[in-house]
């Protein structure tokens, strides 16, 4: 009987803690790591000046790198160990600056940035690009709680927001602009955030 009661209490506690998200996340995360985040965004912008590449980590320990290299006609997807020398060779083969790329991944690892890529979005049917960055929530409350990611989007132009800081569609200033089916909130005029269950 005591054992059953113990299991019931344990499961209830796990369930309740699983429903909670980390207290500090995203909260002030951006402002605490602002310099590192901006440096990563700049490095990534430099890396993708001529050719697009998406980079991220597929494991929780930030060892396995996922790289999606885009050419005009084909997207090459590779998974490597960050320490594997063949990763640099592959990057060079596809015309990327391997040193910048590997340094960027190391910087991403430092702030638990799981994924970075460029996404297209459309205003008045015109294509524009934003930078999409996701950071893994280190403050998980229990092993039962689902993963949450702090998503940041960087725009080249200032964006429109409502009085609650919700990112708006330029065409219709009453409608929230969604990215990956999520509503985003203001950090500053060119940077927005949301919390998502998916890192991309």
């Amino acid at each position: 009987m005591k054992n059953r009661l113990f299991i019931l209490i344990f499961l209830s506690a796990a369930f309740i803690s699983g429903c909670r998200t980390g207290k500090q996340f995203p909260g002030n995360y951006y402002f605490q790591h602002e310099q590192a985040i901006i440096a990563i965004e700049k490095q990534y912008a430099q890396l993708t000046t001529n050719r697009l590449i998406s980079l991220g980590f597929t494991d929780g320990e930030f060892r396995h790198v996922l790289a999606e290299m885009k050419t005009d006609s084909i997207r090459y997807v590779y998974e490597f160990n960050l320490a594997d020398p063949s990763f640099a060779d592959t990057l060079v083969k596809y015309g990327y600056d391997a040193v910048t790329c590997i340094n960027l991944l190391k910087d991403m690892k430092t702030i638990k940035c799981t994924w970075i890529n460029k996404l297209d979005y459309y205003t008045d049917k015109e294509a524009k690009l934003l930078t999409f960055m996701s950071i893994r929530n280190g403050a998980r409350t229990s092993p039962f709680s689902p993963e949450k990611y702090f998503i940041l989007t960087f725009y080249q132009q200032p964006q429109y927001y409502d009085e609650n800081g919700v990112l708006l569609d330029r065409r219709n200033l009453r409608r929230a602009r969604k990215i990956n089916n999520e509503i985003f909130y203001r950090i500053n005029e060119k940077v927005c955030y949301t919390v998502s269950a998916k890192f991309r």
């Binding site: 997207r75 590779y78 993963e147 569609d169 089916n181």
Partner: protein, 295 residues
């Protein structure tokens, strides 16, 4: 004539025959494409009463781009349109002029006939096409919106049973979902060829020598894979994963070397080449559908 000379002659003969056949095939495809393009160039469209939110200029530009580069047919970022995109991609590759005529009839009359099947999308669907937002390039691909909405409205499977009528944002939910049997039905109707299939909606494909088997199927015709997208395109680090297929891709080639598989597939907007291990392929593969070209 010695045995070696005869052998050499034989080889040369077959080489010439194969080269001629390949040339004829590529010529036929180029001709079909050209025919479709001239059809689009001749047409001037005005606003359609059937599709009030579809922009005629965007519609025509989208048709032209699809014919020139079928590989860019894009299903949107969050929609459940991947199965319809796979069908559209094959249609564009095999019958571009039929596709164009079907789309123009659909736009002009609000209904169209293709391969003895009449497609007549409901009013709710016709009003929604052209209004999709925040789905990447699909936002401005009005012809693709018309095509996907029409197929999603026409074909129904058990996944759609509680969502038969379109409601707002239905493209993101079960209204547009496609189970394997429905997918095969669509392929049979649109491709007008024999479609064979192995697999189930909830049970993974368990086949020995999978890569060899897929290569043989590729030699026969087009191959479609029904996959667990959570493994193909990982989006979170959760330990507990859903073991269900949610995605369709068109397989272009597959080779195995030292236990590593290199797959090239068309995946709603891109051709992707990726390396994957055998275990991952088995764990994400739920269905294989393939066409058999009768020669």
């Amino acid at each position: 004539m010695g045995i070696y000379s005869r052998l050499l002659f034989c080889c040369l003969y077959w080489l010439v025959v194969f080269a001629a056949a390949a040339q004829t095939h590529s010529n036929t495809y180029a001709d079909k494409k050209q025919q479709a393009l001239s059809l689009v160039k001749q047409i001037t469209l005005t606003k359609s009463n059937s599709w009030p939110n579809v922009n005629p200029d965007l519609f025509l530009a989208n048709l032209k781009r699809n014919i020139e580069r079928p590989v860019f047919l894009y299903a949107g970022r969050n929609t459940n349109f991947c199965s319809y995109a796979a069908v559209g991609y094959i249609l564009l590759e095999q019958d571009p002029s039929g596709y164009v005529q079907f789309m123009l009839d659909l736009y002009t009359n609000g209904e169209a006939l293709y391969a003895n099947t009449t497609y007549k999308p409901a009013e709710a669907v016709r009003k929604t096409a052209g209004t999709i937002l925040y789905e990447g390039e699909l936002d401005r691909n009005d012809a693709d919106q018309v095509f996907f909405f029409t197929l999603a409205d026409h074909y129904k499977g058990y996944l759609n049973i509680l969502h038969l009528k379109y409601k707002r944002d239905g493209e993101l939910g079960l209204w547009a979902a496609t189970n394997l049997a429905k997918f095969n039905r669509m392929l049979r109707a649109m491709m007008q060829t024999e479609i064979r299939c192995i697999g189930y909606d909830l049970v993974r494909v368990k086949q020995k020598h999978l890569v060899d088997s897929l290569q043989k199927k590729l030699a026969q015709g087009d191959v479609f894979l029904y996959l667990n997208n959570g493994i193909l395109r990982k989006k979170n680090h959760n330990k507990v994963k859903k073991h269900i297929p949610t995605h369709y891709v068109v397989l272009k080639s597959i080779v195995e070397e030292n236990g590593h598989i290199t797959m090239t597939y068309w995946d709603a907007g891109f051709t992707t080449q990726r390396q994957i291990d055998t275990k991952a392929l088995y764990s994400m593969l739920f269905g294989i559908s393939w066409s058999v070209r009768h020669r």
